[in-house]
């Protein structure tokens, strides 16, 4: 743990120094290098997952049978959960629209859960 802490601080200082270098080079080169240097890291950080991987990993390790997890498995479960939540939200929304209501209620979620056989694991788990 101590080691990881020290590398983190090292990384941060690295980042800062890099940024400083970038700023200097930008001020000298001005237009040509400006956009590609800035854009790439930003898009790579943002686009893949919306849930924090660290939190999902934490929830995964609550499972007593789960000892070690690979980077890919954490990513896949995070992404799967996002897709799953989108699906559940969309179906719940359809339900309230069918009832001509403008607010998605808890009973819409319950209705979706009993509608799909794959979702039976959620029955009674949401109290």
């Amino acid at each position: 743990m101590d080691c990881s802490g020290s590398t983190e601080t090292l990384n941060i200082t690295h980042e800062e120094s890099k940024e400083n270098i970038d700023d200097e080079s930008l001020s000298t080169n001005v237009k040509s290098s400006e956009t590609p240097v800035e854009k790439k890291p930003k898009t790579q950080q943002k686009k893949f997952v919306r849930f924090p991987l660290s939190r999902v990993k934490h929830i995964m390790t609550l499972d007593p049978d789960c000892n070690n997890v690979s980077k890919d498995s954490v990513y896949l479960i995070t992404k799967a959960t996002e897709l799953f939540l989108e699906f559940l939200g969309r179906e719940s929304g359809k339900h309230s629209q069918q009832g001509k209501r403008k607010t998605v209620q808890r009973r819409d979620v319950d209705a979706v859960i009993s509608e799909f056989p794959q979702l039976c694991f959620l029955e009674g788990a949401l109290e």
């Binding site: 090292l10 929830i59 690979s70 896949l76 897709l83 939200g89 403008k102 998605v104 959620l122």
Partner: protein
């Protein structure tokens, strides 16, 4: 388990954003429904994890792999998620192979993001 209830939760702000994007614009979500959906997502993480762990155990492996997750999803009849996940994993893998040089900096950035989200969540709870 009861002691760690808070760790079960995924950040509410992210849950809210994902649901909002999934449903049609003029729909609102009741607070109760939102809490139920967030809980459903967290239960989903554990559900897939425990199934994946079983598969890894049967194969005498201690580390959860991406293939274990795919097989778990197939067993639990979430076949629809598999294709988009395979594409997404491919992109993810390519991105972190490219980033090999900058691995340390990206890790630091990832953790920063996680912390930010947690802070937001805390703010919401105060309200």
């Amino acid at each position: 388990m009861a002691e760690k209830l808070e760790d079960f939760n995924l950040p509410m702000s992210v849950v809210q954003r994902i649901i909002k994007e999934a449903i049609t614009e003029n729909l609102n979500i009741a607070k109760e429904a939102r809490i139920a959906l967030a809980r459903a997502a967290a239960v989903f993480v554990l559900y897939i994890t425990s199934q994946s762990s079983l598969i890894a155990q049967k194969a005498n492996r201690k580390t959860l792999t991406g293939d274990d997750v795919f097989e778990a999803l197939r067993n639990l009849e979430f076949d629809d998620l598999i294709e988009p996940l395979q594409k997404s994993l491919q992109e993810y893998k390519e991105s972190y192979k490219k980033k090999d040089k900058n691995v340390s900096t990206s890790k630091a950035a990832e953790e920063d993001q996680g912390e930010e989200i947690e802070e937001i969540e805390d703010d919401n709870e105060d309200e």
